[in-house]
Symmetry: C2
Subunit: 117 residues, 2 copies
DNA sequence: TACATATGCAACTATTTGGTTGCATAATAC
DNA sequence: GTATTATGCAACCAAATAGTTGCATATGTA
């Protein structure tokens, strides 16, 4: 489980998960495009995602297809969110806003939905 | 959002979240007991959890009470899990087991539910 | 007041981590 | 067979991180 949290702690790896969530089965070279990291850099990130079981792979000839596995993320949610809380949170955008507003944060200007990195 | 993932990436901080999920309103010194880290170490961890909005605090005299905030964790789940997938996953322990079984992991003996760290 | 309790801040260190370059291996195309 | 494409492995480096020690501040209590 430690591998899952470590894997999610990097913005490049989260970007890769976003792309695989958008379209599964992409290869390493496909996933490299647009990222300002070398191919080997991306390769190492994908390896970490694999070891965390967040990404499952399938060899097709010389190509390695990558797919997102949502199970570990689901386990994170169920760890700290009770069933009844999940029910409440599902509809309560207001609660989120309330917690944001009353926080003594330095820059309370930024909205919550802006720029997931 | 980056702060949330970084905060969750450390086992000590996850242990703190577990304790606050178990009982809210604990102080720094209460949370120190049992952890093999100094008070200042725990303090720095709690500060990171605060900045990630995973923990909300409330001053009571000279005591600082700590409470868990589940909202950021809920947002993680909704990022990579589609609504229909959430519905399926809710009842499908079997899917999780299947994915574990067919994984090419070195030590496939360990069960999924054992020892969240 | 004097003392104990509860927390915060700053400097320093060892380890981890993200990224690189260079070379090796394997499958497809000509 | 030769060239090209797709990926993997190892060594190296700079930056971030977890942890420490020491001191400062503020709130209760005798």
């Amino acid at each position: 489980m430690d591998d899952v949290f470590k894997a999610l702690a990097d913005p490049t790896r989260r970007e890769l998960l976003d792309r695989l969530h958008d379209q599964g089965g992409q290869t390493l070279n496909q996933l490299c495009s647009g990222l300002d990291v070398t191919r080997q850099g991306v390769s190492k990130h994908l390896l970490q995602l694999e070891q965390a079981h967040l990404v499952v792979t399938l060899w097709r000839g010389r190509e390695k297809r990558h797919y997102l596995n949502p199970v570990p993320i689901y386990e994170i949610a169920t760890r700290w969110i009770n069933k009844f809380e999940r029910g409440r949170l599902d509809g309560l955008q207001s609660l989120k806003n309330d917690l944001e507003d009353c926080s003594d944060d330095s820059d309370s200007t930024k909205s919550t939905n802006s720029s997931l990195t």
